[in-house]
């Protein structure tokens, strides 16, 4: 009863609304006893349902992509580990990656990846954060409107161009600075620094978004208490935006780990278990590119092995991305 009342109401109002528009028609109908003759039930519309179904499929393709990635990486990795010479202990315990002579230690590739990423972060985090603070707290509207497009250009340059830059500019620069005997032609330091330059725009723009989202009242209160601009920026605004800044850092690390072309061009071709940034060492992504760039036959050992490396890479970057989303959700300061 309570449910039917509004429906009746709606029917009446629909009737009255249509009255003047379709006057003759409704006059004829009301002669049949005054009951509303309009069928107000939702009409089944086949075309609409088909469209909705198609649109759902479009959305579902993203799920299929993820499933595809997991299936492909998982299946080929299983084939890799199914080989009797390989096992997880060797994979995670060995320090030599030479599949040709059955050495399957992943560590040389992982250390090179971590080293390049660490160097990149040492460049990108301070510079990116400083740029973000400058843009958000110091720069005038006019300065921002000049600087942000420059950063966008930096972000839009293809990574292969950065690779070229690393090999033809950064490496000679490093070799000139530290000596040609110390710095090899291919080295992780050069690749790492250029990856750092590559992710600066990412760090600065994501951090700046977080800093700008801090309400102005906090800044005003801080100034009112006599704090300088620097103290306000570092002790009030930055802590308030910390979750966003931390998320930016983690996304940047994930991006640096997954970066491929720079290390493929500048870091060296050949797994090398070393902790010296000036020596050639191949990262996970660099290894995948080099192996798959040659003539690779399906189901060969090399073919399966790059999928195992890919799976590890996927898991690392995915967990970093999930971590960054979790940090934003968990530690975000709400001011509204």
């Amino acid at each position: 009863m309570s449910q039917s009342a509004p429906v009746a109401q709606a029917a009446i109002s629909a009737e009255s609304m249509r009255g003047p528009v379709a006057g003759a028609e409704s006059a004829g109908e009301s002669a049949l006893g005054g009951e509303p003759q309009y069928d107000l039930r939702r009409k089944p519309r086949v075309a609409e349902s088909i469209i909705q179904g198609f649109l759902f499929l479009c959305g579902a393709i993203s799920i299929l992509t993820t499933l595809g990635i997991v299936y492909v990486l998982g299946r080929e990795s299983l084939l890799f580990f199914a080989n009797e010479e390989v096992n997880l202990l060797k994979f995670f315990g060995g320090t030599e990656w030479q599949p040709a002579i059955s050495r399957f230690g992943i560590w040389p590739l992982v250390t090179a990846t971590l080293m390049a990423s660490l160097i990149a972060m040492a460049v990108a985090l301070p510079v990116g954060l400083c740029i973000a603070i400058f843009l958000s707290e110091y720069a005038s509207q006019r300065t921002r409107s000049i600087l942000k497009p420059i950063l966008e250009i930096l972000a839009g340059i293809p990574t292969v161009v950065y690779g070229y830059f690393a090999l033809t500019f950064m490496t000679p620069l490093l070799r000139g600075t530290f000596g040609r005997d110390i710095v090899e032609i291919y080295n992780t330091a050069s690749a790492g620094i250029v990856i750092g330059i590559l992710v600066i725009p990412l760090v600065s723009s994501m951090s700046e978004d977080a800093l700008s989202a801090v309400p102005g009242s906090l800044r005003q209160a801080s100034y009112g208490l006599g704090a300088t601009r620097l103290e306000t920026a570092l002790r009030i605004v930055l802590p308030a935006a910390l979750s966003g800044v931390a998320a930016a850092f983690i996304v940047a690390i994930s991006r640096a780990i997954g970066e491929t072309m720079i290390v493929a061009i500048a870091a060296g071709a050949g797994p090398n278990f070393t902790f010296s940034p000036f020596r050639a060492a191949e990262t996970m992504t660099g290894h995948i590119v080099r192996i798959s760039g040659g003539d690779l036959s399906y189901d060969s050992f090399d073919y399966n092995s790059i999928f195992a490396i890919g799976l590890l890479l996927f898991l690392i970057t995915l967990s970093l991305n999930v971590l960054s989303q979790w940090i934003v959700r968990r530690f975000r300061e709400e001011y509204e």
């Binding site: 759902f56 993820t66 990635i69 301070p126 740029i131 500019f169 991006r255 798959s292 996927f314 995915l318």
Partner: protein, 453 residues
């Protein structure tokens, strides 16, 4: 402010409550000094970013132009007949020179490719340069040196390569753009790679634009946000945007190149190059990049659709339009500029993408233009990668010139995206959008940044 405080300190009721005294004043000065120091540091950080960009551009320009030292196998002056220089000879004379200097087999091959009677004299002249004169680059110098240390270049070239021809060369020329790949740096060009890039990007857009916009419409207009499946799709899309591009390459290698080989090689349609039929074709690459930029297009599309005010939808429903009619006639036209801007930015990302295409198997050396979606291909970034990986300097110069081509292409696309945004923002039906504009653009730029390499 301090001075004011002290002048009136006697009359102030806050006397004794507010800090004062020389120790305090010193502290304030120190704090302000620290503030100024850090302001300089922040500015230096900004400056270092700009310097990095300038260094990158300088480096590329520096390598694209400059002096080269060239040694010819046979001096063109020796080929002159009766004092008439090579480039003024008639065609018959040129053919005669060619005949006298190359093997009969090669002549037959040229005749087979295109009879000499049909060739122009420029063409024969080019063949002579290629086969008889055979210029070889011995060394190349950067633009910076070429401008500021000209003298020493000539001296050095004379010492190291006696008899060499030293002249200023721009590696980026019209013939560089119009010629196909060659193992000779002086004659190599990027036409094949440009065509490859255009083909791949065309497939990418055809695949990802309809699907991406469709998914964005579904998520914004149809999906109930509370339902688990829809939440899963949304989370999933955000995560996909952070997957390294090389992983997409491996996905493409396993799915498109291998499992769908019959389709991607064109075998089931009876087209494609039958002799080397495998799945390493344009369509595999296009679909792989399509999957790669799909999350970007969806996220951008969602933001554009979200920025359409709901009053527009409500008035459409109020007039009795169906859900799809409201979307097609009202929501999409209003959201289109935002969607297109996002798509162009995603496309420029696809054009610069290298790693997934190496994995999918873009061919490294291809001299024939791609003829369709099922042909083998190479793209500009791969060409750059290949040239950069070569040890010889002259290939670095080629790579720099190819990078300039790529950057100009990307700049054109990004500029058109900006123009499009501005054009529609100033357009008539966008009075309401100006309210939402800042919000929309803010978010759009943010989602661009959440992209993997």
């Amino acid at each position: 402010m301090m001075a004011v405080h002290q002048q009136h300190s006697a009359a102030r009721p806050t006397d004794g409550l507010m800090p004062s005294g020389p120790a305090y004043r010193e502290q304030v000065v120190a704090r302000q000094r620290r503030g100024r120091l850090w302001a300089v540091i922040f500015q230096a950080a900004v400056l270092s970013g700009i310097i990095a960009l300038c260094a990158l551009l300088f480096n590329i320009l520096n390598q694209s132009f400059g002096y080269v030292a060239i040694v010819n196998n046979i001096d063109p002056a020796e080929l002159a007949i009766d004092g008439v220089p090579l480039n003024e000879l008639t065609k018959d004379q040129l053919v005669g020179i060619l005949e006298a200097n190359v093997s009969a087999g090669l002549m037959r091959r040229y005749e087979h490719d295109m009879p000499f009677s049909q060739r122009s004299s420029e063409n024969v002249h080019e063949l002579i340069l290629e086969r008889v004169v055979e210029p070889q680059v011995q060394a190349s110098w950067g633009l910076f040196e070429s401008v500021f240390a000209r003298g020493s270049i000539f001296v050095e070239a004379e010492e190291r390569f006696p008899g060499s021809d030293v002249y200023f060369r721009s590696w980026l020329t019209t013939s560089f753009i119009s010629k196909s790949q060659s193992s000779e740096p002086l004659r190599a060009g990027v036409r094949t790679a440009i065509f490859g890039s255009l083909w791949v990007v065309a497939i990418t857009i055809l695949f990802s634009f309809p699907i991406g916009v469709g998914a964005a419409i579904y998520l914004e207009e149809y999906a109930h946000k509370e339902r688990l499946l829809n939440r899963l799709i949304q989370t999933n899309i955000n995560n996909l945007a952070g997957v390294p591009s090389i992983i997409y390459g491996m996905l493409g290698l396993a799915i498109f190149v291998r499992i769908l080989e019959a389709f991607t090689s064109g075998a089931i349609f009876g087209v494609g190059d039958q002799s080397t039929a495998n799945g390493r074709t344009i369509i595999s690459a296009g679909l792989t990049l399509g999957l790669l930029i799909l999350p970007l297009i969806i996220i951008n599309g969602q933001e554009a659709i979200r920025a359409v005010p709901s009053s527009l939808r409500q008035s459409g429903f109020g007039l009795g339009a169906t859900h799809w009619q409201v979307i097609w006639h009202h929501v999409l036209p209003s959201a289109l500029p935002g969607i297109l801007t996002g798509t162009i930015l995603a496309t420029s990302r696809a054009i610069g993408e290298t790693a997934p295409l190496v994995v999918v198997g873009a061919s490294t050396f291809i001299a024939l233009d791609p003829s369709g979606p099922f042909s083998k291909f190479t793209v500009l970034p791969i060409q750059i990668y290949q040239w950069t990986s070569r040890p010889q300097d002259e290939f670095r110069n080629l790579a720099a010139a190819a990078i300039l081509v790529l950057l100009v292409l990307l700049l054109t696309m990004n500029a058109s995206a900006v123009l499009l945004r501005n054009h529609f923002d100033r357009g008539q039906a966008s009075a309401y959008r100006s309210i939402y504009k800042n919000d929309c653009c803010h978010k759009t730029s943010r989602s661009d940044r959440i992209r993997s390499n």
